[in-house]
């Protein structure tokens, strides 16, 4: 287990729009829970390569490969609001294990 903030790779189609919203929302939600995180945004096509740089979790709004070696959470909750509490819990859980 490494010390310091947890690293989350946030993926979407273009790495501009959706992942910006999602990354912001995750940082705020985790801050409220007292979990310090850093995020990096990327395109879904870059996930497999970037994840090797050492991330604790991948959160994505588009399909990504499922053999990444770290937990992957696929969710639209930060865009649509539906299931947001559950998604926040799931992320917090994944970071604490």
């Amino acid at each position: 287990m490494t010390n310091g903030p947890k690293r989350i790779l946030v993926a979407c189609g273009t790495a501009i729009a959706t992942s910006t919203v999602v990354a912001q929302a995750i940082i705020e939600a985790m801050k409220e829970k007292g979990i310090e995180v850093t995020t990096r945004q990327c395109k879904a096509t870059e996930v497999s390569t970037l994840v090797k740089e050492g991330f604790d979790l991948v959160v994505t709004t588009t399909p990504v490969p499922d053999d990444l070696g770290v937990p992957v959470i696929q969710t639209l909750a930060f865009l649509t609001g539906m299931g947001k509490e559950e998604a926040i819990e799931e992320i917090a859980q994944a970071l604490q294990t």
Binding site: G13, T14, A17, V21, L79, T80, G81, M82
Partner: protein, 151 residues
């Protein structure tokens, strides 16, 4: 809300009747092109991206949305296009890309720099998460009504 700043009467199509998702994307994209916000290949690139990586979003209420957009290289300056549709058109779900989403609210995003439009994107998400506001937008028949709903 921040979102109002990026909307244009010309690129706001209300109560659109008939057509499919491509017609909506073309309709909005062509307007953003005439306004100078996007390059001439923006529409084709957006359609292609929508086919590979769809942007349909099932929302809490009865109305679903789509947020078509594409890489920054096709954009000159940031803007939004907005369309409300009388009848749903078929988009596909962003996460479950085989799943159809009947969409009546389309917000097209033209973004020119990563992270530069965080507030605008945040307010788009706020709109999508606000069922009452979505319903208000669906009823709007003029650009002024859209802007006043978004205040």
């Amino acid at each position: 809300m921040e979102i109002s700043k990026y909307l244009h009467p010309e690129a706001t199509i209300l109560q659109m009747d008939g057509g499919n998702s491509e017609d909506v994307i073309r309709g909005l994209g062509d307007k953003l092109f005439s306004l100078g916000h996007v390059k001439d290949d923006f529409v084709d690139a957006t359609l292609q991206r929508e086919a590979n990586m769809p942007t349909g979003l099932p929302l809490e209420g009865s109305i679903n949305a789509a947020i078509p957009h594409v890489d920054i290289e096709f954009v000159n300056s940031p803007a939004l296009g907005l369309a409300t549709l009388k009848e749903p058109v078929t988009f596909y779900n962003m996460v479950e890309t085989e799943t159809e989403v009947p969409v009546r609210l389309v917000i097209m995003l033209a973004l020119d720099q990563p992270k530069s439009q965080v507030e605008m994107l945040r307010s788009v998400a706020q709109v999508l998460q606000n069922t009452a506001l979505v319903n208000q937008l669906m009823e709007a028949t003029s650009f002024e009504e859209v802007i006043s709903a978004l205040k």
